[in-house]
């Protein structure tokens, strides 16, 4: 079926008004030999047939709510999403609207984005936030882009910690291909457990940007204040990629002096959904706002003396500046930013802190229990939030197989990205994991430890 309302009679009337005798006549500019190819697509389904087909596909997945106990994180986290969030997202007024280019009839979207910007500033301790990027990885890449623009391309070194998410680092590498930048700091895959402060020695007067993650990919928490000072002494900017749930409890990157704070805001009310759509957030200092990419909502007044909101500083953007724009970004993650705004409004000061504390206590309980199993040990002693690494006594594949037989997703295999961390597992624990699940996880792993 289709969603076309016109009847054959109406189509005939319209053709008469246009002054042509058939619809095909409207396609005369297409060379005839390319016109109307035969497409090999399955026959159209009715809505009820399509619903059945999609249900079957979805049921061919094992999901972390109904089938699997999950300790998998590594950049995407299973959190509780209050029912009210999706009720707001399903308002047609929000999800079927376009980018709010016409402020008179888009105040809903504009104010929601303004509030999202404010919430992200409050969370990160920064001064300005844009309206979103595609995800955490592309937000980091845009930080590189911004630093490049701040120094007008004159500084060409980017220093990146090896404990930044491997996929984020991969995306940065893809983005900088044509920019003539040198990316250093994460080549030494041999020593992933090194402290992120090791990269300090690479920061030089040619460094545009230093990138670290908070907590880092291995889960470790560091106060980066001293690293920021060293970078600033060389005139470089610092970007901290931060987990927003962790920011409910821990010192903000803003307090540490970061110039750019970005990250993946999926934990703020956005479902796992097999990897997307998620929400890249981007915050910075007011002095860099003109170099920042992406849309930005500002407060103003209308001609009737009412407070109103509008997209502002649009001269930075591609539709005005074309090849000299700060970025090519146009469509962003508007609806996901709304989800984060609703989530943060619902949880508020107390709720978000409660979630973060639950994550912290459960993760530490799990870490403590796991490290007591003979053969298993924590990979490091630094403080962590809700994710940590353990060394396995047996090859990862064997452990994973055993866990899957018990319907457990044990975590992320660090050996996939860090050869030196072969047979290390990155384990995430959130408020969704009960004590029973953690105990069961430990029991099943115990079986691995004795052969």
């Amino acid at each position: 079926m289709t969603y076309i309302p016109n009847t054959p009679r109406e189509q005939a009337e319209m053709l008469a008004t246009i002054g042509v005798s058939s619809i095909e006549e409207l396609f005369q500019d297409i060379p005839p030999r390319y016109r109307y190819p035969k497409l090999n697509l399955p026959p159209a389904l009715s809505e009820m047939e399509a619903a059945a087909e999609l249900k079957e596909l979805a049921e061919n997945n094992e999901n972390v709510r109904d089938h699997l106990i999950s300790f998998l994180g590594a950049g995407a986290y299973f959190h509780y999403i209050p029912a009210a969030v999706d009720h707001i997202l399903r308002r047609g007024e929000f999800y079927t609207a376009y980018t709010p280019y016409q402020p008179e009839i888009s105040q809903g979207t504009l104010q929601a984005i303004f509030e999202y910007q404010s919430l992200m500033c409050a969370l990160t301790g920064m001064e300005v936030s844009n309206a979103s990027h595609y995800d955490g990885a592309t937000a980091v890449a845009e930080a590189v882009n911004m630093a490049y623009a701040v120094f007008r391309g004159k500084r060409t070194r980017i220093v990146i910690s090896p404990s930044v998410h491997p996929q984020y680092r991969a995306v940065v590498r893809t983005y900088v291909q044509g920019m003539g930048l040198e990316l250093v700091g994460d080549e030494s895959e041999a020593n992933a457990l090194q402290s992120p402060f090791e990269i300090e020695s690479l920061i030089d007067p040619n460094t545009a940007l230093v990138i670290v993650q908070y907590p880092d990919f291995l889960g470790r928490l560091y106060d980066y204040t001293s690293l920021v000072q060293i970078a600033h002494a060389q005139g470089a900017l610092v970007c901290i990629a931060a987990n927003p749930t962790a920011l409910a409890l821990f010192k903000t990157p803003g307090e540490m002096g970061a110039d750019i704070v970005v990250g993946e805001a999926q934990p703020l009310g956005i479902p796992l959904s097999f990897g997307g759509p998620y929400l890249g957030y981007f915050t910075t200092r007011k002095q860099y706002v003109h170099k920042m990419a992406g849309r930005l909502v500002g407060e103003t007044v209308d001609q009737r003396g009412q407070r109103a909101y509008v997209l502002t500083l649009t001269a930075r953007e591609q539709h005005i500046k074309r090849e000299r724009a700060t970025s090519n970004i146009c469509t962003n993650q508007g609806l996901m930013a709304l989800a984060a705004a609703v989530y943060l409004s619902l949880l508020g000061k107390q709720g978000l802190r409660q979630v973060a504390e639950l994550c912290y206590h459960k993760a530490h309980y799990a870490a403590q229990r796991l490290s007591q199993i003979p053969g298993f040990s924590l990979a490091y002693r630094e403080p962590f939030f809700h994710e940590f690494a353990i060394r396995l006594p047996r090859p990862f594949e064997e452990v994973q197989h055993h866990l899957l037989e018990h319907d457990i997703l044990g975590g992320y295999h660090l050996g996939a990205d860090y050869p030196s961390l072969k047979d290390h597992l990155l384990i995430a624990v959130t408020e969704m994991n009960t004590r029973e699940e953690i105990d069961y996880f430990c029991e099943v792993l115990q079986e691995v430890s004795h052969d």
């Binding site: 809505e47 998998l72 097999f274 909502v297 962003n332 997703l409």
Partner: protein, 495 residues
């Protein structure tokens, strides 16, 4: 002189203004494990988030939703944005628990449903476009462009062809085309349009040399016109060794009617949030898969979904991720906007080949109908049979009414305005794209409003200059917004 400060009237307070200390909208259980000590030296002092009850939050966002115009609420003829109706079933399918609660890094054996869906969608997009291979990773149209430009660059460099630094882009192109090329460090050369709205062939030929990376072409272009010399344009670029990139923003005009791959496009991005009905979400998320011809398949962003083990009569194939050998790399984390892919899959499954052809045919019929109804009143500079959209001028001889005034006045008639001031090659442009999901009745009501506004422009121009009158807010002070830069209602210094 004393200035009286009058505070602006507030339509809806912000969530920060609605906050009351001690409230919360959600509570969570007490920990079922022993508490561990928090690292005191790493804690933040305060968390300045608002505090509201659930009912406060719901009412606040409900009030905000009422201030929006939307496709669900009315006609949205925004040129080049393809604001078609977003079927409700798509929303339900994307929220099936099997999709919603799967982690992107699960072992492939546990996510065969998602992988099968992605594989099939790749195959369908190949079939619809005539391209040889597709990656679903890019997050939006502009992201697809960046991916495509990186592929073009990598292709030339791999052949040892380092001289190619010039990207040709017609003057009618979307701003994202030059911006994407700029991000990859390429030099952008603008190609003018000819008097019929086509790419100016002579200007194109003059630029085609051994330094050309390629041409980024939107076809139909942003005038809504199918290039009358498309084959020659493509041949000219290919003959100088360049590649032809197709911007799929306007694919709604061609779906089921012509395949860009058949006529020689080397790369094409799809906007699933335009052609394939996934909602725009107030500015996203979109999805911008990229299709390429066979000679570029090895460069696609990694990973894409493939068959790891062939199936048998009784056994389904095993789907997994494959890494094209010369891949430009990863363009985002994980595998693309999966939730958006589910919606597009549902849409294509419900259309089939004939349904998709009907989409393009009715989109083009609707656009030409509106063009026919408006052409005697509004000047249409390139007035010939159009595809899915057309561009009129929003000005009248001897009147100071502008496209902006007409756009704002349309809001009083409860229509969303067309795209205005784009493309840049038309003065006071009004770019109108009705899409196929609008009925003749709606189109007639819109055309009547446009004709009436033209009449008002003659008789009561002040009505237009001061429009809109019936919207929640009037024209806003954009200069003040840019000058004062109030971008956030919470500041660290207030701490």
């Amino acid at each position: 002189m004393t200035e009286t400060l009058t505070l602006p009237q507030v339509i809806e307070p912000t969530i920060f203004e609605l906050s009351s200390p001690g409230r919360t909208g959600v509570t969570f259980p007490e920990p079922d494990v022993p508490r561990s000590d928090l690292p005191a030296e790493l804690l933040r002092a305060d968390l300045p988030l608002p505090e509201l009850a659930e009912v406060d939050v719901i009412r606040h966002f409900m009030h905000l939703s009422h201030l929006n115009y939307s496709v669900d609420g009315g006609f949205y003829p925004l040129g080049s944005c393809t604001m078609k109706y977003n079927p409700k079933i798509n929303e339900d399918m994307a929220r099936l628990p099997g999709f919603l609660f799967t982690h992107p890094l699960q072992p492939i054996e546990t996510v065969q449903g998602s992988l099968a869906l992605m594989y099939t969608l790749q195959e369908w997009l190949k079939e619809i476009s005539g391209m040889a291979a597709v990656s679903l990773q890019p997050a939006a149209g502009a992201h697809g462009e960046l991916t495509g430009v990186l592929i073009m660059r990598a292709y030339h460099r791999d052949r040892g062809d380092h001289r190619r630094t010039k990207m040709l882009i017609p003057d009618s192109a979307h701003g994202t085309n030059p911006a994407s090329s700029g991000m990859v460090g390429l030099q952008v050369v603008q190609i003018p349009s000819d008097s019929r709205g086509n790419v100016d062939l002579n200007a194109l030929k003059a630029q085609c040399d051994e330094t050309v990376v390629g041409l980024m072409l939107t076809n139909p272009n942003t005038l809504g016109l199918f290039d009358e010399h498309l084959e020659e344009v493509i041949r000219t670029v290919h003959e100088c060794g360049g590649l032809v990139y197709g911007d799929g923003a306007n694919l709604n005009a061609l779906v089921g009617v012509m395949r860009p791959g058949d006529i020689g496009f080397d790369i094409l991005h799809f906007n699933l949030h335009k052609t394939f009905s996934t909602p725009h979400g107030g500015g996203g998320p979109g999805s911008g898969p990229v299709g390429v011809a066979a000679h570029l398949a090895d460069y696609l962003p990694s990973p894409i979904v493939g068959i790891i083990e062939e199936g048998t009569d009784d056994l389904a194939p095993l789907f997994g991720f494959i890494h094209p050998p010369r891949s430009i790399g990863r363009v985002k984390a994980f595998h693309g906007h999966f939730g958006v892919l589910v919606r597009a899959y549902t849409y294509i499954a419900m259309h089939g080949a004939e349904g998709l052809r009907a989409v393009a045919e009715n989109a083009v019929l609707n656009a030409n109908y509106l063009r026919a109804r408006l052409q005697d009143t509004y000047y249409i500079p390139y007035n010939r049979v159009c595809m899915h959209e057309f561009v009129a001028e929003g000005r009248f001889p001897g009147s100071d009414v502008r496209a902006l005034d007409i756009s704002k006045r349309l809001m009083d008639y409860d229509f969303h305005p067309p795209t205005n001031y784009f493309p840049l090659i038309v003065h006071e442009a009004l770019m109108i794209e009705p899409t196929e999901t609008e009925s003749k009745r709606t189109l007639d009501a819109f055309a009547d409003a446009m004709l009436r506004i033209a009449e008002e422009a003659r008789t009561q121009p002040e009505l237009l200059h001061e429009a809109p009158h019936r919207t929640p807010v009037g024209r806003v002070d954009e200069v003040k917004a840019a000058r004062d830069l109030v971008l956030c209602c919470w500041f660290p210094e207030n701490q």
